[in-house]
């Protein structure tokens, strides 16, 4: 047994931490096999009703608008997938884009995003080797369900309060990202509570470990989403209006 004391140990530990920091961090996908089978099952069970509801919404939309909507939705899904594979500039090295779900939820509403998000996660698992199949339920819940609903809710709330567009969009994307990160940390803390401190202590540990990559990322995501939103608004007003059919069908 050996021990280190005081300042020196702090410096040593932090340098160790910084070198361990991956140069290219991944978004917070819970890796395959990381959750015990019980928790993997629970999160699948939680996510499935949302998925079923989302599918029903899409079916009604197709009935209303014709088969072309399906293609539009599929393109949106493919767009979210491609976004997730783009490297996002981040203050701590480059980082893969968390979800792109925020932008989608603001434009199309949260329900289609749940369905598209599940397919994106499946493709990420089998095409990019990100995330996993047993943990797909948990990831679906944190990214496509919590992420989409928070982003959409914040956007709607701020808009109804008369906040400027840029503020609503950036806060929606940032908070959507942050809540995804908090949800994932909670899922991990629930599955792996600390012996003495219980869930709260382990939640604190998970939150602080991932904060290094996730906090700057959430802020960048907010900035980026505003820039994208403004560009699209500025140059493609008409297309946006046509696309509004998808979000209209949801209400």
């Amino acid at each position: 047994m050996f021990k280190l004391k005081g300042k020196k140990s702090f410096v040593l530990l932090s340098t160790l931490f910084m070198t361990l920091l991956p140069k290219q961090a991944e978004a917070m996908h819970i890796a395959e096999g990381f959750l015990p089978i019980k928790w993997a099952g629970i999160w699948w069970a939680v996510a499935l009703p949302f998925l079923a509801l989302g599918i029903r919404q899409i079916k009604e939309l197709v009935k209303e608008q014709g088969a072309g909507v399906k293609v539009l939705l599929a393109v949106t899904g493919a767009f979210v997938f491609v976004l997730s594979s783009l490297k996002l500039p981040s203050l701590t090295g480059s980082c893969s884009h968390p979800t792109g779900i925020g932008l989608g939820a603001i434009l199309f509403g949260p329900w289609p995003m749940v369905v598209l998000g599940s397919i994106v996660l499946l493709f990420q698992a089998i095409l990019l080797a990100h995330g996993g199949l047993t943990t797909l339920g948990a990831n679906l819940f944190s990214m496509a369900i919590v992420g989409a609903f928070v982003a959409y809710g914040v956007y709607r709330l701020l808009k109804s309060m008369g906040a400027p567009q840029w503020l609503s969009v950036s806060l929606a994307a940032t908070l959507g990202d942050l809540m995804t990160y908090v949800t994932t940390a909670t899922q991990l803390a629930w599955a792996f509570p600390s012996g003495e401190g219980g869930i709260l202590l382990s939640l604190t540990k998970f939150l602080s470990v991932f904060a290094v990559t996730q906090l700057p990322l959430a802020i960048t995501e907010g900035l980026l989403t505003v820039l994208v939103f403004n560009l699209v608004h500025q140059y493609n007003e008409n297309e946006l209006r046509e696309l509004a059919v998808i979000s209209k069908g949801r209400e």
């Binding site: 140990s9 990381f34 089978i37 399906k70 493709f123 080797a129 199949l133 540990k205």
Partner: protein, 254 residues
């Protein structure tokens, strides 16, 4: 980046019925999760490494590179699990003292962490076996046979076809931005990336509209029918798969 997809079509096991491969991968994955033991995990990693490199003839280098993908996530979350914060240092294997509070590692938690790391790598190798040997389209076809909602299957098919086009477009835009020094600073990257995404969004939208027109011109009524590669279910393989899984279960019990 998407060469996993290429291997899925060109590997030596691509002619085997996808159902067999799914049974093999998912079955072992579940056994591995339930067993939750270091030995089973090690056996599964070796087994999958063998099947992927010797069976499917995929290079060892690629397999190792893929295994490294989840490592950063694993290291971070396992770090959170094995670090204990306590005032009583008697149970700690190694620690750093900050005044009265000790931050350190308990041997019990260290074992949990190692087990978790290996279990994750083992199930990840099962996933890679499936991903590297079975094309996405065939997996989607299995979903179809399992009677998943039709709209879901269709969206998957369409998305799979579209994402390669969008990916190509995104890469082209990125390349031209790079050649104009678009990513030289944090500020530049942010602006370049936002332009890329905005353009991609609009291009995607027009792609979709053109696709709808092209499909409708060919009598699209909401369903795309494509020919699927036929596969023969082999009894010998099925028995072998069940045998391996049975053996693993027996080893788990003892």
């Amino acid at each position: 980046m998407l060469n996993i997809d290429q291997y899925a079509y060109s590997n030596q096991l691509s002619k085997i019925h996808p159902m067999e491969k799914i049974l093999f991968a998912i079955g072992i994955m579940i056994v591995c999760l339930v067993a939750n033991s270091v030995y089973i995990s090690l056996v599964v990693i070796l087994l999958m490494a063998g099947v992927i490199t010797l069976g499917a003839r995929i290079s060892v280098k690629l397999f190792i590179k893929l295994l490294a993908i989840p490592v950063s996530f694993l290291l971070f979350s396992i770090l959170a699990i094995i670090i204990s914060i306590t005032t009583d240092e008697s149970t700690l294997l190694w620690y750093v003292a900050f005044g009265k509070v000790k931050v350190g590692i308990q041997s019990r938690n260290l074992l949990v962490g190692i087990n978790l790391f290996l279990r994750s790598l083992a199930t990840v190798s099962c996933l890679y076996f499936l991903a590297l040997t079975t094309p996405a389209v065939e997996i989607i076809n299995i979903f179809k046979k399992l009677k998943l909602p039709q709209i879901f299957i269709e969206l998957m098919m369409l998305m799979y076809r579209l994402l390669f086009i969008l990916l190509e477009t995104a890469n082209q835009i990125r390349l031209s931005q790079l050649s104009r020094l678009g990513y030289t600073s944090f500020r530049n990257s942010l602006f370049s990336l936002s332009k890329l995404i905005a353009r991609l969004f609009i291009k995607a939208y027009y792609r979709a509209r053109e696709l709808v027109i092209a499909l409708e011109a060919r009598g699209y009524d909401g369903e795309i029918r494509v020919l699927v590669r036929e596969h023969q279910l082999s009894k010998r393989n099925l028995i072998a798969i069940l045998l391996i899984e049975f053996l693993l279960i027996i080893v788990t019990i003892y």
